[in-house]
């Protein structure tokens, strides 16, 4: 097994060795259930057999809670406790460390994302059958969510690589991902007030606006390239941030 995968495996397992994975998963499902069924415009109020709500709520929960919590410790904690020195002086490349940690954290987030598949399956297949499931938008919606998770975790990892404090990493990640999400709402307001240029800019960078297309069943290569570019760029900067220790 390559060092990258060994590090990823260790990272993924360590979430389950501590309470963090269980807390995150339980809280996320509780919050998702609340959002999906009850809160304004929820399933019971809407009275329509649609899971569009799932695609709106999940990435928001990921941005504001899951990704910051999962990524905050990745490198910051290792730096603080000194285990980074132990890890890097094993025969591994810096890129193995960055990629391994990235894959480990992404693994946990994807477990969470994919387990929301329970919603469409339970509602439209078994035990309930509320009608025929429109497979296309569900598939593209999940593709969007996976791409979004890749980008968000990469941003979280990058921020964790820049600081020694988990708390600082959490709040900055929370803020950055939150802003990238809310830019979508802002864009709507901006275009309503006639600032078309600003709205276009906000839509361009907003994760929410980008995901909108996927929910509607539209897989636009520009959106795919956008998420992948953010991922690669963040990982490269994280790699540089890790390498900086050599010269500072």
């Amino acid at each position: 097994m390559s060092p990258t995968l060994i590090i990823a495996k260790r990272e993924f397992r360590s979430y389950f060795d501590s309470p963090i994975a269980y807390i995150v998963i339980c809280l996320s499902f509780f919050a998702l259930g609340l959002m999906f069924f009850f809160l304004n415009g929820g399933f019971w109020q809407l009275d329509r057999a649609s899971i569009a709500r799932l695609f709106e709520s999940t990435p928001m929960g990921l941005s504001f809670l899951v990704v910051p919590v999962v990524t905050m410790r990745l490198i910051a904690e290792e730096r603080r406790s000194g285990t980074l020195e132990m890890l890097i002086t094993l025969p591994v490349k810096d890129s193995d460390v960055v990629l391994g940690k990235y894959l480990g954290a992404l693994g946990l987030v994807l477990v969470l994302v994919l387990s929301t598949l329970a919603y469409p399956l339970v509602m439209f297949k078994f035990p309930w059958n509320l009608g025929p499931l429109d497979g296309g938008p569900v598939a593209s919606g999940y593709l969007g969510m996976v791409l979004f998770s890749c980008a968000a975790v990469a941003i979280g990892l990058l921020i964790s690589a820049l600081t020694e404090s988990q708390a600082v990493a959490f709040f900055i990640t929370f803020f950055v991902l939150g802003a990238l999400w809310l830019f979508g709402d802002l864009a709507g307001k901006a275009s309503a007030s006639g600032y078309a240029g600003l709205a276009a800019l906000l839509n361009y960078v907003s994760f929410q606006s980008r995901l909108n297309n996927f929910w509607r069943g539209l897989v636009d290569s520009r959106d795919v390239v956008f998420f992948l570019s953010v991922t690669v760029l963040s990982l490269m900067v994280a790699f540089r941030a890790l390498e900086r220790r050599k010269w500072a």
């Binding site: 097994m1 060092p3 060994i6 590090i7 260790r10 360590s14 060795d17 501590s18 406790s81 000194g82 285990t83 020195e85 132990m86 890097i88 002086t89 094993l90 025969p91 591994v92 490349k93 220790r245 050599k246 010269w247 500072a248």
Partner: protein
């Protein structure tokens, strides 16, 4: 012969901002040598070790480990070494077995090799009882053992250990030192420590660094001889004396000893009410025990103990690294950077002189001089 040099440092310099942590450090460690790396806190020991393990890069200079360059070939360098960083930072959420397995997997050990090595490592580091325990529940001494275990798991030709015996109890220390001596027969070991007794126990050679420079490098005997002085310990009875003579007061005895020919310094050591104890230092090639005995006879004092030994390593260590201490205590160096550097150069030159011509330069005198200066200032 080049293959016999396992670790080589050429003019390693490391700057952290304006602070120069290492200044043109040169040394070599050959195959099978166990070398003690000594120096006060902040002298650059850990920095050097981090450069050798490719965790950080030097500002200038180069180093090779097992004939691999730390710049060009960091992975090969790391494959050749087992490294225990200071305070043994470990993943506390893993069990000991999981951790060792993790280190072995990354180092590419296959299952059967791992089992074989694990057995040996468990035996050496005394981990049999704790293999299944979470590292977070282990005491610091046991974590140190686990750290040592992961450094040994792949049976490396070179071991770099940063304070391997700190936080161990005396039994564990003895055990680790015994092991270091044992594996040092066919391996190269560079270990840093504050404990000079350990160096004397385990190492044949020491490198002493101070303020980022190597101030001594050689076999221990050579380093001990560096100050060119011998130590005498004299104990005189404080309550009784021979044949109607009065037992001496401390000041009286001190003065008499000071007046002996060949004595450089005399210092009173703390004792109980029954005796006065003094530490004298004299030139390496002379022996003044006879003079001391005759003085006792002439005065009619009762000599309880007279001992001559080579300067102990920690006295040498203190001598060689005194510059650091002086700076820390706010001795009278100029604040300007350039002036400070000049002063540094001068002080090291002074130290060399002192070594060469046995110029008497006592600690106490120095302190007095510093005191006088600071009084003059205030």
């Amino acid at each position: 012969m080049a293959t016999d040099v396992m670790i080589q440092a050429n003019g390693l310099t490391k700057r952290f901002g304006v602070v120069r942590a290492l200044d043109k450090v040169n040394f070599e460690v050959k195959r099978g040598e166990v070398v003690g790396f000594l120096g006060p806190n902040g002298a650059g020991k850990s920095t050097t070790m981090r450069i050798l393990t490719c965790f950080i890069s030097p500002s200038t200079g180069s180093a090779t480990v097992n004939s691999h360059d730390v710049f060009d070939n960091p992975l090969e360098v790391r494959r050749s070494i087992g490294y225990l960083p200071q305070r043994a930072p470990l993943y506390t959420d893993m069990t000991v077995w999981e951790y060792l397995k993790f280190a072995a997997e990354i180092r590419g050990l296959d299952e059967s090799t791992f089992k074989k090595r694990l057995k040996k490592v468990v035996e050496v580091c005394g981990l049999a009882q704790s293999l299944g325990k979470d590292i977070s529940t282990l005491s610091h001494g046991y974590r140190q053992r686990v750290g040592l275990g992961q450094a040994l798991i792949h049976d490396p030709p070179i071991l770099i250990l940063d304070e391997p015996t700190s936080d161990l109890d005396p039994n564990e220390k003895a055990e680790v030192l015994r092991y270091i001596k044992e594996i040092g027969k066919d391996r190269t070991i560079l270990l840093s420590t504050h404990n000079l007794a350990e160096v004397e126990e385990a190492c044949a050679r020491a490198i002493i660094v101070s303020k980022g420079r190597v101030v001594a490098d050689g076999p221990l005997d050579e380093i001990r001889g560096k100050t060119g002085r011998v130590r005498y310990v004299v104990t005189i009875d404080e309550q009784r004396a021979e044949a109607g003579n009065k037992p001496p007061a401390a000041a009286q005895a001190l003065e008499a000893l000071q007046r002996l020919g060949g004595v450089k310094t005399v210092r009173e050591l703390p004792t109980d009410e029954k005796a006065h104890k003094f530490e004298l230092s004299g030139a390496q090639d002379s022996d003044i025990r006879a003079e001391i005995f005759r003085l006792m006879v002439a005065k009619g004092w009762t000599l309880l103990e007279l001992r001559r030994d080579a300067q102990s390593l920690d006295v040498v260590f203190r001598d060689l690294t005194r510059g650091d201490e002086k700076l820390d205590r706010g001795a009278n160096w100029s604040a300007a950077d350039e002036a400070e550097e000049d002063a540094d150069d001068k002080s090291s030159a002074d130290e060399d002189d002192e070594d060469d011509d046995d110029e008497s330069d006592d600690d106490d005198e120095d302190e007095e001089a510093v005191d006088a200066k600071s009084k003059g200032k205030s």
